[in-house]
Symmetry: C2
Subunit: 247 residues, 2 copies
């Protein structure tokens, strides 16, 4: 049983905001003193955490209200989505980082490559917005989570799955560039590290990979994660290079 100021302190949400949320029926304290002071409990905090996250990815308060009120809301599910969002954000940030470095590096010389980099930073910042939109949509449409469940030998209950999806997603973005370039090779390295954790030997990993491809090619109804053919091919090429460098 926490009074409003304590909750504000703990969460960084202002007192006024908490009262506002009460007013609009988004988050009513589970109990009150006789005099009408709000008293929050642990469940209220859970709800507040949800609200914070959903706000962060761009939902409006009334949208959040509707979602939290809908009976089949799944807190565990939401957490997984948060995790997956955080990972994407990290990707986005590291891109921004390298572009900023380019910019800083080439700052002295006022040339054209500079102008391109500026646009890149802004587009990347924009990426964030698209990311948020994607996640907002995925909150409603269950499709994405269902897809994840289709990755063979990796249910979405294993948090690693999310990372795999993220890594594959990253690869996709470089598909028109050299599979030997450092960006791609770094991704592959991370994949290989994950592979070592998750599976056993190298052959097994490649087998799984091909399994996926075959199934996707043969039929979507086998219920596997649909990785595009070209992505798989690209991934394979990059992996070959990686092995070559390593061995």
């Amino acid at each position: 049983m926490l009074h409003i100021h304590k909750v504000s302190e703990m969460t960084g949400v202002t007192v006024r905001t908490l009262r506002h949320y009460d007013h609009i029926g988004l988050l009513q304290s589970s109990s009150k003193t006789e005099g009408g002071h709000r008293l929050y409990n642990h469940t209220d905090l859970k709800k507040l955490q949800q609200i914070q996250f959903m706000k962060k990815i761009g939902f409006r308060l009334n949208e959040i209200k509707n979602m939290l009120n809908s009976s089949d809301w799944d807190w565990s599910d939401s957490l997984k989505k948060q995790l997956s969002y955080v990972k994407k954000e990290q990707e986005s940030l590291s891109k921004i980082e390298s572009t900023l470095r380019e910019l800083i590096h080439g700052m002295a010389m006022e040339d054209e490559s500079n102008e391109i980099a500026i646009q890149k930073v802004m587009q990347l910042a924009n990426n964030d917005k698209e990311l948020q939109e994607r996640y907002r949509k995925s909150m409603f449409e269950e499709r994405e989570l269902k897809l994840w469940k289709k990755v063979p030998n990796m249910t979405s209950d294993q948090p690693d799955t999310l990372e795999w999806i993220a890594l594959i997603g990253q690869l996709k973005r470089f598909i028109h560039e050299d599979p030997g370039c450092s960006n791609v090779q770094n991704i592959i390295r991370r994949m290989d590290e994950k592979r070592a954790e998750t599976f056993g030997g190298e052959t097994e990993f490649l087998d799984k990979l091909w399994d996926v491809r075959m199934s996707e090619k043969q039929s979507e109804q086998l219920g596997l994660y649909p990785i595009d053919q070209d992505v798989l091919e690209y991934m394979n090429a990059a992996y070959e290079i990686f092995i070559g460098k390593k061995g």
Copy 2:
């Protein structure tokens, strides 16, 4: 010379927003057609990028206006701050990530450690706000940048300096854990990669490292970057392990 729609496309800022910025005098297009259509050039884009970043860390539009108008505004300086901010955000996100993983992991069992984790996530999200405040302040107070200039043989003109600071900052967080653990070793690996880029041989790197320690111990007035003694010792230990594994 870009018309408003093109700029909007390139940057993800809506047309309405651009007009709004013009209206309040925050960003006026450098030229116009005879009929009054706004035409933006490269300098305008630079300015817009600044605005985007400053908005992201929580400035109000009129504050931004004042800062950009103040004659001694330094675009290069601002970029460095952006980079440093991005790195801090990454740290913050990776903390959030691991806490989310904790939460997801312990979701089945409805116990107390769970409640603590929830509070942790929220406090971490709150970190962001504090981060933003810190950076807003550092925009005015030059202190931070001055500190960076004190790292020997690395002026803040070398963008790598920022990464060093960030890496050292990361190390600090693990100082009570095993210097051989993978998190720490990954940081060290990145340091070693940076070292190879920046300096030459291994010995030289270690020499520099000791230089720093000696000077810090002897006197702060030599104007060096203050790395805590214990961090240095920890870093050294971790590095030794790294070398051991590598060689």
